[in-house]
Each structure stands twice: as structure tokens, then as C-alpha cells.
């Protein structure tokens, strides 16, 4: 057993990395935290709407169990249930912790936390700090980490890039290869554990709601080094974003949580000013089609409905692929207080004031449910064993993952305001796993031959040298844009196999063109180009995981919509019939008692789940993702058909 303070290298200073750093310092570890930019500028600052916890502040009867049920159902039953349950039960304590560290959460009359509604639930479960919740959470956690830095327990390596893990002959991760983004020097750091809290991969699609550094390169490198990657094809498309040249900025779900209504003119091609269109001539399609959840159906459902309206029905505003998101029926004061931040963004980037005129929005790539495969351990009672070193460990011992970079909390579709929760939950929860893993190591990194580190370093030094010598005819930034176009065209909201086959081939073409890239800057100081070329390589590998996973998965689940495999749920179907059906089947009772078509549907559903209710696992073999499927733990809630109307 190692008899000194544990040394943990955390890559990423978003919510997952910061919470892990804070908790590990509390547990007396020495922490090195690495990030492209100042931690305070991490992507998590983009989160607008809020963070979920079933505190039941409005006395609506909400409970962590209901939060658990909504999350599992929202994710179309593909998430690991014991973990999600644990997360939902920890959520209220997490919110109170965040409140204690000074997050400026909105409050009620009594000075306690206020909550709002979000998609996929009927309860007011979302705590929020104006319309910049993510920013406020990052700042407060960054401040706690700064406090430990002040006390000498944290070393910040900002302006550094993680290139790969250092893996010894036993296959154990012993540290990380980093690059100083100013001096461009490549070096290794040794540690007991490396945590990848490196966020999502939105840049694979180029224009998304994600930040510029979200290339997914760190997680992909882990995959290239042998780690398993899970559920890659599950990419969330957010229904409401603002079109832009450089980015598709998000219009948060909180706009709908605060009463925003989505509509298009009933008459296609109606060119009137939206304010002049009378109520009766507006088609509030979400409210009409989903009377129970209305504008707050889960994201996959809303994105598909908008797609249907603008493409299949050609009813987009002004003939363009856009719909209205309307808040003009609310008072300006109310909107400023509750949504000021995001409405300002809309105004700043479009010139229109959403308090006065309905916004024009369209779906955009937003979040990856998939990520690095991570483990966990449940005890005999089915609860998470928080001391187990397996929790949040990737398939490479000593390499852990947390936050958007992991894969098992959101199933096939994430509910709004659940990501900030899963980031902070994983960051905090994994600390004991990390410490116990380090304790159990029979050999410390000090005893690992120095050649292991030297080799890892020199491998990357030569890789970057090779990149700098690339002198072909392809501009890497243009090639990235082309990759984005390929992915947007083939692996978005509606998927079909013939298009996906073409997309797989087009990604291959991009891969071939990559060999002909020109390194457009060969300086040795603060040169971003070689790094970007390496990241582009990773994005191409990740596109292969996404497209191949999507091609092979012949079903419709959550964000992965293949119309060809839609099981055609009968209109008047009640999901509880399915529970009843399973019960009857088990007891050997008569099952032909259901309304016409229902039994056949339930049989289709059952057969489909048997085949596809599994995690997709990608492993890097012969330059390709080898895809296999793994069972998931559905021991608490019986998987059943989803329904939101």
C-alpha cells in the first residue's frame, strides 16, 4: 500500500473536474488539474437553465424516486438504474452544498431555494441561478478549488493539453502526457490516478451548441489506447437553438419551462408579422399533440416534431427550417428576472428582442449521452457501494472518467438539467473510488521504470514532429468543416440505413483526405495548429464510432430515431398495459384481453428490447471500432414503452 498522500491528475476544469478536485483535496490528495484554458472558462459555463433535485419545494409531491423514474423513462430505459437512482437520491444534498458554497440561486419569498419546471417531468424540480446556472456553478466550485490552491494542495496547469495516458507494461495508467500550450513543450506527469473530466464531443458536428474546445479528443485518445467507448451513437439534438455562422447558440429549455410556446403559422408560407397572426391561425403543435406535457416534452420528442413540421410538412416560418418560440405573452419584468441572460444572448446575436417578438429557433447538436465506458459496483442490496474502486473507472485501470465524458447516466436521451447534476455527482462520488484504488495499488508510480514515461513522451514528441511535417493540400480547418457537414447530413435527428452507409463511407473519405493535410503553422511557440490536427484525427475516429454504432442499431430508441424501425405504438396505448402483460405472462394467464393491436405491439416491444436494450460498446481494433453489446442493469424499474401525451 502506498504510504503518502495520493496524487491525482484531473483533466478538465468543468463541473465534473472541479467537483472531483474539491472532494479529493478534502480527502487529502494532492491534485493537479489540467485544462486548455483557465478553469473558469470551461464549457460548463454555457449551461443556462438549471440543475435538478427533487426537493419538492413547491409541495407538488415530488420525490427522488420520481426523479429517478423520469430520468430512466426520459432515457428510454438505456441508463444503468442503480447509478441513476443513487444520483437522484444524492441530488438534494448536492443542491444544498452548492447553495452553501455561495451559488446565487434564485430564491422564494422566505429566502430559500426557488425551483422551475423543465422538460420530461411534471414537477418543479430545477434549481437555477438566473439564466446562467452553469456559469454560477463553475465559479463557485472554481473558488473552492482556488481556496485549496491557496493552501498548496492543488496545482493548476491551465493552458495545457492532455495528449494521452501513460500506460505501463501491466496495462495500468501511471500518469499523463501533457503539452504546454505556450511553450509547446511535451512532458509527462506521474500520478496514482488520472481522471478524464473532459466534457463532450460536439465539435465532431462543427456547429453545435457546444464550446470550441469540445472535440472529445481526450476521450477518443483513451479509446485509441484501449478503453471501451459506450453508446456513441446517442447524440442529443436540442430542439431550440439560434442559427449562427460560428455556433448554434442554445435557447435554453427554461424558456419553455417559464411558459414559452412553440408554434408555426397554420398556413404554410404565411409571411405576416407573427404578432399579427391571430391565435386561431397559429399551430401550437406540441401542445396539440402532447396535451399532458405540451411544450415540455423531452428533447428527442420535441426535435422530431419540429423536424416533421419544417421538413415533412413544409410549415417552417417563412419557408425556412425554423419555428417560433414565443414568450411575448409574459411581462417584460418577469422575463428579465427569470430569463434575462438567455434573452440577452438572443438579442445580442440576432438584433431582435424576444420580449417583444417571437424567437426563431431550430434544433442543434447539443450533448452526447455516450462517452467512455465506466464501471460501478452495487452491493447485495442493490445500492451503489461508494467505497468500491470500480466506480467511474474506465476499462484501463487507473484511468477514470466523469461528467459528460462518461456514458451511463442518461441512457438514450438526457433530460434537461440532469447533466449538471450528473457531472457534479460523478465528480464527488468517485473520490473514494480513486483513493481506494490508489491504496490498493501493489506498485506505486515511483516504482514504475522511468523508461515507461520517457517512451510515452518521446512517442508524442515524434507524433507532433510528424504532424508539423505534414505538407499536403488540405487545410485542416476546412477538412473539419467538411467532416461536420458529413455528420450533420447523415447522423442527426432522423436516421436511415442507406444514408448511414453513405455517411460511414464519407467519413472514410475524410480519413483519406486527412493524410494529405497541411500543417498551416509550424512555429514552436503557442502554435495551436498541430494540436488541432491531432484533435481532428480524434474527431474522425469518434465519427466512426458514432456512425457505425448508429448504422448497426436497428431500432428507434430515444435520440436514435430510425423511422423504419418505429414499433408503431397504438394511439390509445397505456404503458401500464405492458406491465400487466408481463405479469400475466409470468403467471401463465390469458394475454389476449387488450384492445386491438395492443398485444401485437407489446410483443414487438418485448422482442425489440430483448435484442436492443443493451449498451453499445466500441473498442479500437485494426483501425476500426469493433462494436459489441453489453447488458445493462434494469433491476429496479421494468422497461416499458414511453408515452408523453
Amino acid at each position: 500500500m502506498v504510504q503518502r498522500r495520493k496524487k491525482v491528475i484531473i483533466i478538465g476544469g468543468g463541473l465534473a473536474g472541479l467537483s472531483a478536485a474539491m472532494k479529493l483535496c478534502e480527502r487529502n490528495a494532492d491534485v493537479v488539474i489540467v485544462s486548455f484554458q483557465n478553469l473558469k472558462r470551461s464549457h460548463s459555463v454555457c449551461a443556462q437553465g438549471g440543475i435538478n433535485a427533487a426537493v419538492d419545494a413547491k409541495n407538488e409531491g415530488d420525490t427522488p424516486e420520481k426523479h429517478f423514474y423520469d430520468t430512466i423513462k426520459g432515457g428510454d430505459f438505456l441508463a444503468h438504474q442503480p447509478l441513476v437512482r443513487d444520483m437522484c437520491h444524492q441530488a438534494p444534498a448536492i443542491i444544498h452544498l452548492l447553495d452553501r458554497i455561495g451559488v446565487a440561486f434564485n430564491r422564494n419569498e422566505e429566502g430559500r431555494l426557488a425551483f422551475r419546471r423543465f422538460g420530461g417531468t411534471l414537477y418543479s424540480r430545477t434549481a437555477f441561478a438566473g439564466a446562467t446556472t452553469g456559469q454560477q456553478l463553475v465559479y463557485s466550485l472554481d473558488e473552492q478549488v482556488r481556496r485549496y490552491e491557496h493552501d498548496g494542495m492543488v496545482e493548476r496547469l491551465e493552458w495545457h493539453e492532455y495528449l494521452s495516458a501513460v500506460i505501463d507494461d501491466q496495462g495500468v495508467c501511471r500518469g499523463a502526457v501533457l503539452q504546454d500550450l505556450r511553450t509547446n513543450k511535451i512532458f509527462t506527469v506521474k500520478g496514482d490516478v488520472v481522471i478524464l473530466a473532459t466534457g463532450g464531443p460536439g465539435q465532431v458536428y462543427v456547429r453545435s451548441t457546444n464550446s470550441v474546445v469540445n472535440t472529445g479528443a481526450a476521450a477518443t485518445t483513451a479509446y485509441l489506447q484501449g478503453a471501451k467507448y459506450g453508446n456513441g451513437e446517442f447524440i442529443q439534438i436540442h430542439p431550440t437553438a439560434i442559427p449562427g455562422q460560428d455556433k448554434l447558440r442554445l435557447m435554453s429549455e427554461s424558456a419553455r419551462g417559464e411558459g414559452g410556446r412553440v408554434w408555426v403559422p397554420r398556413k404554410a408560407g404565411d409571411t405576416r408579422n407573427p404578432l399579427k397572426i391571430p391565435e386561431a391561425e397559429r399551430y401550437y403543435f406540441l401542445e396539440e399533440n402532447y396535451p399532458l406535457y405540451g411544450n415540455l416534452v423531452p428533447r428527442d420528442v420535441a426535435s422530431r416534431e419540429i423536424y416533421e413540421i419544417v421538413y415533412n410538412k413544409s410549415m417552417g416560418v417563412g419557408g425556412e427550417p425554423m419555428v417560433y418560440l414565443d414568450l411575448t405573452h409574459k411581462s417584460e419584468e418577469y422575463l428579465q428576472d427569470r430569463l434575462g441572460g438567455i434573452l440577452d444572448i438572443y438579442r445580442k446575436f440576432t438584433g431582435d428582442d424576444p420580449k417583444k417578438i417571437p424567437m426563431r429557433i431550430f434544433p442543434a447538436v447539443h450533448y452526447s449521452m455516450g462517452g467512455l465506458w465506466t464501471d460501478y459496483e452495487r452491493d447485495s442490496a442493490g445500492f451503489i457501494d461508494h467505497g468500491s474502486p470500480r466506480n467511474q473507472s474506465t476499462s484501463i485501470p487507473g484511468l477514470y472518467a466523469a461528467g459528460e465524458a462518461d456514458y451511463q447516466y442518461h441512457g438514450a436521451n438526457r433530460l434537461g438539467a440532469n447533466s449538471l447534476l450528473s457531472c457534479i455527482y460523478t465528480g464527488l462520488m468517485m473520490s473514494r473510488a480513486v483513493i481506494n484504488f490508489s491504496d490498493n495499488l501493489n506498485k506505486s508510480y515511483e516504482d514504475v521504470p522511468s523508461t515507461v514515461f520517457e517512451q510515452a513522451e518521446s512517442q508524442w514528441v515524434s507524433r507532433f514532429k510528424e504532424i508539423k511535417q505534414m505538407d499536403g493540400s488540405e487545410n485542416p480547418y476546412q477538412l473539419h468543416k467538411d467532416l461536420g457537414d458529413v455528420m450533420m447530413a447523415g447522423a442527426l435527428i432522423v436516421r436511415d440505413n442507406s444514408t448511414l452507409e453513405k455517411t460511414v463511407a464519407s467519413v472514410k473519405d475524410i480519413e483519406t483526405r486527412f493524410k494529405d493535410v497541411k500543417c498551416v503553422d509550424t512555429n514552436n511557440w503557442a502554435n495551436p495548429v498541430p494540436s488541432f490536427i491531432n484533435q481532428l484525427h480524434c474527431m474522425i475516429e469518434l465519427s466512426k464510432i458514432i456512425t457505425k454504432g448508429a448504422l448497426l442499431r436497428d431500432e428507434f430508441r430515444g435520440a436514435h430515431y430510425k423511422p423504419e424501425f418505429d414499433l408503431q405504438q397504438p394511439k390509445n396505448f397505456d404503458p401500464y398495459e405492458y406491465i400487466d402483460y408481463l405479469e400475466r405472462k409470468k403467471n401463465g394467464e390469458e394475454v389476449s384481453i387488450y384492445p386491438e393491436g395492443h398485444l401485437e405491439y407489446m410483443e414487438r416491444f418485448e422482442a425489440n428490447n430483448k435484442k436492443w436494450l443493451k449498451s453499445t460498446i466500441a473498442e479500437y481494433k485494426d483501425n476500426e471500432p469493433a462494436i459489441s453489446y453489453e447488458d445493462i442493469d434494469t433491476s429496479i424499474l421494468t422497461p416499458r414503452p414511453r408515452k408523453y401525451d
Binding site: M22, E26, Q37, N38, K40, R41, V45, C46, A93, H96, L97, D99, R100, I101, G102, A104, F105, N106, R107, E110, G111, R112, A129, G130, T132, G134, Q135, Q136, Y139, S140, E143, Q144, R146, R147, E158, R182, S211, V212, V213, G244, Q245, D246, K247, L250, G341, I345, F349, T350, G351, L428, N475, Y477, Q478, K481, V520, D521, N523, W525, A526, V529
Partner: protein, 250 residues
């Protein structure tokens, strides 16, 4: 609405901290809804100057592209601001881009703003909690106090206020409005207030609040409309009281 066919960007460049700066111009095809970022991205895809010379793409910092991370701060047509919210159609042509001048230039439009974060450490800009384990609900705070804190807490450490401040320079120790405003933020929190004295002491020394020349430009350039001059006045009052308290306690 816009007859512009192309947009000229004139950029101040520098290959390393000690290198001589120089200017280069680029012509970029006009596009609807373009901003400075999308133009810089277009240059990345085709790094050729207006004179047709192949050059290195421009190095600049950016991340969120929606004005919440503070990364892409630079001087655009003489005004310090974020590049993401600088829409081309709202700017006068040609557009001049320069790095901030109050922080050491690293390369092209990239500067090193670590000083801002060092100052946050000096003033203990955090709430000193006892531990992150579950200790129940946080303190009761009125929504008015929350609203007051929220505005201050939107500070992205972008450095606009420091760039504009006549008192803040590359080679002095002045902390500047952003730091003073954070002192106010944490002194307003019931638990944060437990460190009030230490925070005030930190801004009473060299580079502290008394060095503020009251030019009031900080508040004009703040992209988040943070009431910085109010913060300065408030911290001025708090430190005066602290001085008096110190006299009586000694």
C-alpha cells in the same frame, strides 16, 4: 440590407512575447450573421492576406462563443470587448483587431491574464465552508440580496474593466475593479462574510482600493453591466470602517 461583399480585417500580430508586433490585413467574404469569430475561422480555413500572401492562421482565444466565458476578449476598433458578440454588420470597416494591452501578449491576439486570478487568491474570493459533505440547507438569503450578489457574480474575469482603467498597467500592482467587486460579492454572503476583515485588509495595501483614480471607465466597458463603481464605493466605505476599527483595536 447589406451591400458589403467582403469584410476587411486588419490584425495586429506578434509571433512570441518578445517579438515585434506587425499588422496584416485579410479580406473575407461577407456572410449573414457573421461575427469576429466566424471571420477569424474563415481566415483559419484560408490563411491568405489581402495581398495574397500565405501566412499562419491567427492565434486567438475563444471558447463558449456566447459571452459567458470571457475568453475572446480583445480590442476591436479601439474598444475592448468580446469578439463573439462583435457582429460584423454593426462594426465600421475596416475592422481593426488588437490584443489587450494591459496583459502580456503571448501570440497574436492571445494574452496572459493570470494576474486576475492571482488577485482572486489574494482577496480570498470564496465562501469558506467546513466540508462538502451533507450539512443540510444553506443559509437563508433574501431574494433581494441574491439579486445583488448575482449581478456581481456574473463577472467573467474577462479583463475589460482592467484594460480600460487608466490606473491598471502592465507593470504595477493595482488590483482593479473586477477584484474589488468580488470582495463585495463575498462579503455579501452570510458565510463569506466571516472572512470580511481578511478581504478588506487585502485591498487596503499596495495596489488596493485607495489607488483607484475614480475614472469610472470600468463600468462603461463591462459587458455584463456589473455596477463596478458602486462596488468600488462600497468597498471604499467598508475599508474606511475597517481602518477606524483597526485604530481602536490596536
Amino acid at each position: 440590407m447589406n451591400a458589403r461583399k467582403s469584410v476587411r480585417l486588419t490584425v495586429k500580430r506578434q509571433s512570441a512575447p518578445a517579438a515585434e508586433p506587425y499588422w496584416e490585413s485579410f479580406d473575407i467574404p461577407w456572410k449573414p450573421r457573421a461575427n469576429i469569430i466566424s471571420c477569424l475561422q474563415d481566415i483559419q480555413c484560408r490563411p491568405v492576406t489581402a495581398e495574397g500572401k500565405d501566412v499562419n492562421p491567427i492565434a486567438w482565444d475563444c471558447n463558449c462563443l456566447e459571452e459567458v466565458c470571457g475568453s475572446c476578449t480583445m480590442v476591436i476598433n479601439g474598444k475592448v470587448r468580446q469578439a463573439c458578440t462583435a457582429l460584423i454588420d454593426q462594426l465600421e470597416l475596416p475592422i481593426y483587431l488588437e490584443p489587450m494591452t494591459k496583459f502580456p501578449t503571448q501570440r497574436d491576439l492571445q494574452v496572459d491574464r493570470s494576474r486576475i486570478f492571482e488577485n482572486l487568491k489574494k482577496v480570498k474570493a470564496w465562501v469558506p465552508i467546513d466540508g462538502s459533505h451533507d450539512q443540510g440547507e444553506g443559509p437563508v438569503i433574501s431574494d433581494q440580496t441574491r439579486a445583488q450578489r448575482y449581478v456581481l457574480s456574473e463577472c467573467m474575469s474577462c479583463g475589460c474593466c482592467l484594460e480600460a482603467c487608466p490606473q491598471f498597467s502592465l507593470d504595477n500592482k493595482f488590483m482593479g475593479a473586477a477584484t474589488f467587486s468580488q470582495v463585495r460579492l463575498f462579503n455579501l454572503h452570510p458565510t463569506g462574510a466571516m472572512h470580511t476583515e481578511e478581504r478588506l485588509e487585502a485591498v487596503m495595501g499596495e495596489g488596493g482600493i485607495t489607488d483607484c483614480g475614480n475614472a469610472q471607465v470600468c463600468v462603461e466597458v463591462c459587458p455584463k453591466n456589473i455596477p463596478l463603481t458602486e462596488s468600488i464605493a462600497d468597498i471604499g466605505r467598508q475599508t474606511t470602517l475597517q481602518t477606524i476599527k483597526n485604530i481602536f483595536q490596536k
